[in-house]
Every structure is written in structure tokens, then in C-alpha cells.
């Protein structure tokens, strides 16, 4: 049995989903689920040891014959797409309901189907032209999903920024694929490692896919798009579409030759994204914007893995590159799972309280125990703590970096700081999520909305439980997933297949890690049960936390998101450039005083905006040439003709 019938079912389901998406919600959900399960099964079959699936047809699309291919790398990302796509569809069924959003619920289903199918097409096609078509379709459908709630002006602004940034990436992709087609003589894609003249094209791919993946400093579109999209869409954007950027980088760095310095650049950008992503996250007061910056951080971690794999490939295919890439790829899955879980939980908070501002929340764990505990699970995973999946992939990357250090040579000098900064990133992420959990779920409610929060419905909870379970599965039994990851890595660089001497060592090490994780989880469970029983027995009394001796403490006297993180954000003030608005108490009996602070989008506001303003000024100046006076238009013509004549007469036209 091959993957073909399953993929046919998946594709058929998607087409049916697009057709009926506007009308019948339940049937649409069922069809979508069948479709993603079939897609998942097809991907799992290839990853589980099945043959690659390849299909060439004489059928022409845009003048090019259709050529589909499902190898281990495609399958690796397809599996993630199907999991998040299915979970998001279920979650969206409860979250973006007809009652709450009568205007957009139908188009939401339609564009969800279009997005899933175009992403699937991006993963499967093996022709540059078709890749471009699928990519554009995916960009546009994601735009419509981001702007589902387009009555709000900030949503429209975020959507516009997303669309603009995506099309910069698209432009680079156009250049990339057409140059590739010109140099190879065909739009067909495939392995062409031996043609070293194609190497410089990698930089175009890096800009295009890096922009889409949200790599620093090309991440400018990401925070606002992720924060303003509906939460199931944010999960999809963060969990899957960013990874499609990574897919592009992995795919084309595997198929095409890369310049020798590519690995260093990617690793450097990865480290930068990781550290600055988490620094910016710490400065945020908006729950979803904070999660969006953590996507930048995690993309950075993935890029560190990919970058060191590229470095290793340039240095006689050293075995540690394989580990680094395996860690990076596994982190693709892991980040997809726990970031979607976190966005789902954040959406659940937003759904029940109506605000993303952390300063309006607080004390939600009593009202929303499911959401709070699942968010906590996701927070542990994203902070890279054992026993969950985030630790597994980061551990693999660390091992790769340590091996690179032991191997000596120039790579060691990059690997040591990278490992240190990766550790620092994880520590900062932990601090950041301590802040989020503390401010949002603990303490006392800071607003009426937070005080009257309620747990979300079964569809939303079910989707979150599924993702939480997946995070635990990878954390507790990592060895099960090792073979899938290795298969994708070996497709990326076939030289590594079987060459690494440690082929048998890693599964053993991973199963030991799994055992350790299980033991840790059991211990944690035992401790939790013991604590819970003590609470139940009531052998202690409840009281306020120490309130500094205030006579009448109010919920406003709690740590805010800004004050909790202020020590760390001070360290990064050189890039965060936090803006403070102070109104100090002045007289003996001050009437009013206030203090607010916020972190701007530094790159967007201090780099991109000034540049675009210059462009706009030049364009406006050019527009005054167009004044509507026919006489002057004719004069332009004459001047142009005269200039051409001069060029020709001077012999420049030859």
C-alpha cells in the first residue's frame, strides 16, 4: 500500500470542504477531519518506513506538467500541518461560532479549507511554477483568515502589513524560482547538489523563507498579525505557516548547493532571533503578542539547528550536523504543538474575558482550570523544561553543539557561544512564562471581565487536550519519533545515511531520556496528588499573601506584566527601547499620578517606517510630474526621444 489513496482521500476531502464550507458547519468539520486524518496517515506512512511517493502526470497546470512528491521531508511537515489543521478546525468550531461572529464564520471555514489545501500543495509540488502558485494561494488565504474580524482597524492594519511583507517574500521567491529555471532550463525541482553555480540563489531563498518564518529582523509583520488574528488562526500561523518557511529553507538547502558561509549566517541569525525574540516577548503586555514573539525565539532555535547542520555539511559532513538538524526538525514539530496549544489557551482566555491585555486579567485558574493547566503545560514545554517535548529537541541541538565543540576547528568557536545563548534563551523564556502564568492565572482578578470568566466549551478544550497529549507523548517517549526525524534528516543529506557511527547510540540515549522523563512525570504526579489531598483535608488555613502592611489591598496592587519583567527588560533596553509615560505624584496630597510603559516594535518603527517614508516622499515628488498638462507630457516624450537619439549617435546603443 502506498500513500496515494490516502492523499487522494485527503485532497478530495479538502475540495469538498471548500465547496461546502460556507453552508454546513458540521459536515464541513467531519469532512475536514477525515481529510486531515488521511493526510496524517499518508505522512506517517512515509515517515514510518514506507516508500517515497512520487507522481508525474501529463496533466498541465499553467503549462507545466503536474509533478507531486511526498518524501520524508514533505511528510514531516505534512504530519504537523494535519495535526494542527485538524485541531484548529475543531477549536475554531467552538471559538469562532456563528453566535459570536455571524458575519465571518462562513468565510472563516472556507478560507481555512483553502489554507490547508494550499499548504498541502506547497509541501507536495515538485515544480517551481506550481510552488509559486500554491505559495501565493496560501499567502492570500492566510490574509483573509487574519482579517476575519476586519471591522476593527488594527486588524486591517495587521492584515495589510502581513500582506505587504508576504509579497516582499513572494518577490524574492519569484526571482529565486525564475533564476533557477533559467539556469537549469526547467521548472522541475529536485536534487541538484552538484551544480555549484546555483549556490548564490540560496540568499534569495533565505530572505524569502526567512521573512515567512519570522526570522529576526524580518519578523516585523509577525507580532501584529499573530496578535490580531482569531486565535485558531494565530495557532495555525505560528504552528504551521512559519514552519512552511523553515520547510522552504530545509527543502532547498537540501536540494541545491549552498554557499560555504550560509551555515554561519543561518546559525547567527538563529541565535539573534532566539535571544531577541524572547527579549521582546518579555517586554509585551499583550498575551498574544507575547506568544508571537516567542515564535520568533523558537524559529531562532530551529535555525540554530539548521545552521549548524549546514556548517557541518561544509566540513566533511561531520556527524554532529545530523544531530543539530534532527533537533531543529524535531523542534519544528514541538514548537508547532506547544505554540498552538498556547495560542488555543490564550484564545480561550480571550474568548471568556474579551481582552488580551494582561493588566486586565488575573486569577483565572479558579474559573478556567482546564485552560490554566493546559497553558501551564504548554509553558513548561516552551521553556524547554523536562519532562516535556521542548526539552527533547533542545537537548538534541545542545548535543549537536557540544559535539561540534569537541570536534574543535572553527565551528567550535561558534558552537560555544551558541550553546550559551541557547541556554540563556531557555532561561529567559522560563522567566517570561512565569510572568504570564503568574499575571494571568494567579493572583486576584484585575477587572470585572476577569472576575466573571468561564471555562470554554468542549470543542475548544478537546483540541487543547489533544495538543497537550501530543506534547507529553513526544516528551515521554522521544525514541518513538526518532526514526521519523532521522528519515527526514537523511533525505536532506543522503551522505549521512548509515555513515554516522552513533546510529545505534542515539535511540538508546533517547530511550534513557524518555525513562527519566517518565520517572520525573510520575514523581510530579505523586507530588501533585499528595498536595491536592492535603488541600482537601484542609490541614491549613487560607490567608492573604503578605500585603506590605496596606490597610486595604486592592487587585491593582499586584505585580503587573511590566513590573514583573522590568529587571530583565532593563538589560535589553538598548534594543527594546521601552517607552515610559510618567506622571509623578507632586504635592503632599497628590490628586493624580500614573505610570505606563510599552515596548514598541523597534525594527518596524525605527527602521522600516523611516525607510518607507523616504520611499513615499520620493514617490510623491515623482507624482508632481503627472499634472495633467498635455503639453508637458509631449515635452517629456520629446526629451526622451532626444536622449535616445543622443545615446544612439554617441554609439552607446551598440
Amino acid at each position: 500500500m502506498t500513500a496515494a489513496p490516502l492523499l487522494l482521500v485527503a485532497a478530495g476531502g479538502m475540495v469538498l470542504g471548500i465547496l461546502i464550507g460556507r453552508m454546513t458547519p458540521r459536515l464541513w468539520l467531519m469532512v475536514t477531519l477525515v481529510s486531515v486524518i488521511a493526510g496524517f496517515a499518508a505522512g506517517a506512512m512515509v515517515l514510518g518506513g514506507g516508500n517515497e511517493w512520487e507522481w508525474r502526470s501529463a496533466f498541465l497546470v499553467g503549462g507545466e506538467p503536474l509533478h507531486l512528491r511526498l518524501d520524508a521531508i514533505s511528510a514531516f511537515f505534512l504530519v504537523l500541518l494535519c495535526v494542527i489543521g485538524g485541531a484548529g478546525a475543531v477549536y475554531g468550531h467552538g471559538y469562532w461560532s456563528k453566535l459570536a461572529h455571524p458575519r465571518s464564520v462562513r468565510s472563516g471555514r472556507l478560507w481555512w479549507s483553502v489554507l490547508l489545501s494550499s499548504l498541502g500543495a506547497v509541501l507536495l509540488v515538485s515544480n517551481g511554477l506550481h510552488f509559486l502558485i500554491a505559495w501565493e494561494l496560501f499567502t492570500v488565504s492566510a490574509y483573509f483568515l487574519v482579517t476575519l474580524d476586519r471591522q476593527r482597524s488594527e486588524v486591517r492594519a495587521a492584515g495589510w502589513l502581513y500582506l505587504g511583507a508576504s509579497h516582499v517574500a513572494m518577490l524574492c521567491l519569484f526571482a529565486f524560482f525564475t533564476l533557477l529555471a533559467v539556469r537549469t532550463g526547467s521548472w522541475e525541482l529536485g536534487s541538484m547538489r552538484d551544480r555549484s553555480e546555483l549556490a548564490p540563489l540560496f540568499w534569495l531563498a533565505l530572505v524569502a523563507f526567512g521573512l515567512k518564518a519570522g526570522m529576526f529582523p524580518l519578523h516585523v509583520w509577525l507580532p501584529s498579525a499573530h496578535a490580531n488574528a482569531p486565535s485558531h488562526v494565530s495557532a495555525m500561523l505560528s504552528g504551521v505557516t512559519l514552519k512552511i518557511g523553515i520547510y522552504g529553507l530545509v527543502r532547498f538547502s537540501g536540494w541545491l548547493p549552498v554557499p560555504p558561509e550560509a551555515g554561519w549566517v543561518v546559525a547567527f541569525l538563529g541565535v539573534t532571533s532566539a535571544v531577541l525574540g524572547v527579549a521582546f516577548a518579555l517586554g509585551q503586555h499583550d498575551l498574544k503578542r507575547l506568544l508571537a514573539y516567542h515564535s520568533v525565539e523558537n524559529i531562532g532555535i530551529i535555525l540554530i539547528g539548521l545552521g549548524f547542520a549546514l556548517v557541518a555539511m561544509g566540513q566533511d559532513n561531520a556527524g554532529w550536523g545530523r544531530l543539530a538538524l534532527a533537533g531543529g526538525l524535531l523542534h519544528v514539530w514541538n514548537h508547532g504543538l506547544f505554540k498552538s496549544l498556547l495560542f488555543f489557551s490564550a484564545g480561550s482566555v480571550l474568548h471568556s474575558t474579551g481582552t488580551r491585555e494582561m493588566s486586565q486579567l488575573g486569577g483565572l485558574w479558579r474559573m478556567m482550570p482546564w485552560t490554566a493547566s493546559l497553558f501551564g503545560l504548554g509553558a513548561v514545554a516552551i521553556s524547554g523544561l523536562p519532562p516535556l517535548n521542548g526539552f527533547v529537541s533542545e537537548w538534541l541541538i545542545y548535543l549537536g553543539l557540544f559535539d561540534a565543540t569537541l570536534a574543535r576547528g572553527p565551528s567550535a568557536w561558534m558552537a560555544i557561544p551558541a550553546a550559551i545563548l541557547l541556554g540563556m534563551t531557555a532561561a529567559l523564556a522560563l522567566a517570561c512564562f512565569a510572568k504570564v502564568c503568574g499575571v494571568v492565572f494567579l493572583g486576584a482578578p484585575r477587572s470585572q471581565a476577569a472576575a466573571h470568566a468561564h471555562e470554554s466549551g468542549p470543542a475548544m478544550r478537546g483540541a487543547m487536550v489533544l495538543l497537550g497529549a501530543a506534547c507529553m507523548a513526544i516528551g515521554l517517549a522521544p525514541v518513538v519519533f526518532w526514526s521519523a526525524v532521522v528519515r527526514a534528516v537523511d533525505v536532506w543529506n543522503p551522505v549521512w545515511t548509515g555513515a554516522a557511527t552513533s546510529d545505534h547510540a542515539w535511540p538508546v540515549a533517547l530511550s534513557e531520556l524518555g525513562l527519566f522523563h517518565v520517572a520525573l512525570a510520575v514523581l510530579a504526579l505523586v507530588a501533585a496528588v499528595w498536595l491536592w489531598r492535603r488541600v482537601r483535608r484542609g490541614s491549613f488555613s487560607r490567608a492573604l499573601t503578605w500585603d506590605c502592611g496596606y490597610a486595604l489591598p486592592t487587585p491593582r496592587m499586584q505585580y503587573t506584566a511590566g513590573s514583573f519583567a522590568s529587571i530583565i527588560t532593563e538589560w535589553f533596553a538598548w534594543i527594546l527601547r521601552p517607552v515610559r509615560h510618567e506622571h509623578r505624584p507632586e504635592t503632599l496630597f497628590p490628586q493624580s499620578a500614573s505610570f505606563t510603559s510599552h515596548t514598541p516594535e523597534t525594527v518596524l518603527e525605527y527602521v522600516i517606517t523611516p525607510v518607507t517614508e523616504i520611499v513615499m516622499r520620493v514617490s510623491r515628488a515623482a507624482r508632481s510630474l503627472q499634472h495633467g498638462r498635455l503639453q508637458f507630457y509631449l515635452l517629456y516624450l520629446l526629451i526622451g526621444l532626444a536622449a535616445l537619439a543622443v545615446v544612439v549617435l554617441l554609439g552607446g546603443g551598440k
Binding site: H627, G628, R629, L630, Q631, F632, L634, L637, L649
Partner: protein, 222 residues
Amino acid sequence: MSGGVWMIGHPLLNLLIGLAMGLNLLALGSSRLPSIIRAMSVQGMLLGLMPLLLESANLDWRIILVVLATIVGKGLVIPGLLRRAMRAANIEREIQPFLGYVPSLLLGAGGTIAAVALARALPLMPEHAGSLLVPGAIASVLTGFILMIGRVRAISQVCGYLILENGIYLFGLLLIHSTPLLVESGILLDVTVGVFIIGLIVDRIQRAFDSLDTRKLNTLRE
């Protein structure tokens, strides 16, 4: 530059072209619309005669047909249409041109001299080297441009366009052996219909806005 060089081959042809270049200057220097139109129509008739001279060895009925059509079209029909439009709009004179008459005359004269000088620098075929065809064509195109750029009345601009077209026609005569006559007659028909429509539009604009100043017609620039 000795005048004798240009008389080799087609003395009569060069004479006609010289006259046409003079008419260019007349059109540039005059402020009254009727005299511009007259200059243009005489120039059209002169040009219409040229195929007769060029093909005097092997005349056939098609060439005679083209000659007649050009003379009637450029010499009578188009000027007639323009005069009608002029009467309908009730204007006789150009007012306040962008470019004064003396400067445009100087520019035109300079352009004509430059065209003659320039033509020697162009890589022409040997049989065309002695004729004034190319300089005449360039000078007419330049004159047309100067009229269109310098004048504000729509009708003077149309005249400018027609003189420019005459220049292109002169260029076309270089290719008279290879251009099918059908193309020539097609161009002529296009120009006639174009002028016909412009005549109607001028009438409408005059009635709607009470002015034919093209400087005021710039609202639709986007």
C-alpha cells in the same frame, strides 16, 4: 554644406521638401489658426505629390489612387473638418501660447538646420544620402512637437499633430518600395477619422466649458 549635393537624384523632389520645410516655419510663426491650417493643407498636398516623382518610372493605377487620396484627404478633407470645428468653436487666434511665436520660430529654424546636419551623421542607405527626405521628416516631426507643446488651443495642437504625421509620412516614403500601399491608405484613413472625431469633441468641449484652453483640461490626470 553645399546645396548642390542635395539636388543630385531628385531635384524636383528636394524642391518640394524644401517648400514643405518652409511651410513648417510658416505654421510656427503665425498666430492665426486659418493660416496654420492652410500651411498644413498645402504641406499635405505637396507630400501627396511626392510618390508621383519617386515612382515616375513605373506608375500604375494604385499609386495614382494613393496620390489622389492623399491630396484629397490631407489637402481638402482634413483642413475642411478643422475649419468647420474652428467656426463652431468661434475662435480665430491662438492666445497666450506657452511658447511665443518668435521663440518657436527660432526653435523650428534651429531644429531644421540641426536636422539637416544630423541626417549626414545617420547611417543612411547610399541612394537616400543625397535627398532631403530624412532631414525634412525630422524637421516636420520637430515642428509638430513644438506646436503641440507650445500652443494651448486644441485646434493648433491638432495641426501640430498633423504636421508631425506628415513628417512620419516623409519617413515612410523612404520605404515606399517595401510598404504595402494598403498600410499607407490605412494610416490616411485613421488620421482623417481622428480629425473628424476631434472636430466633434472640440465642438462639444466648447459648448460644455466655453473654452478650448487645454491647460484647463487636467482634472482627469490620475
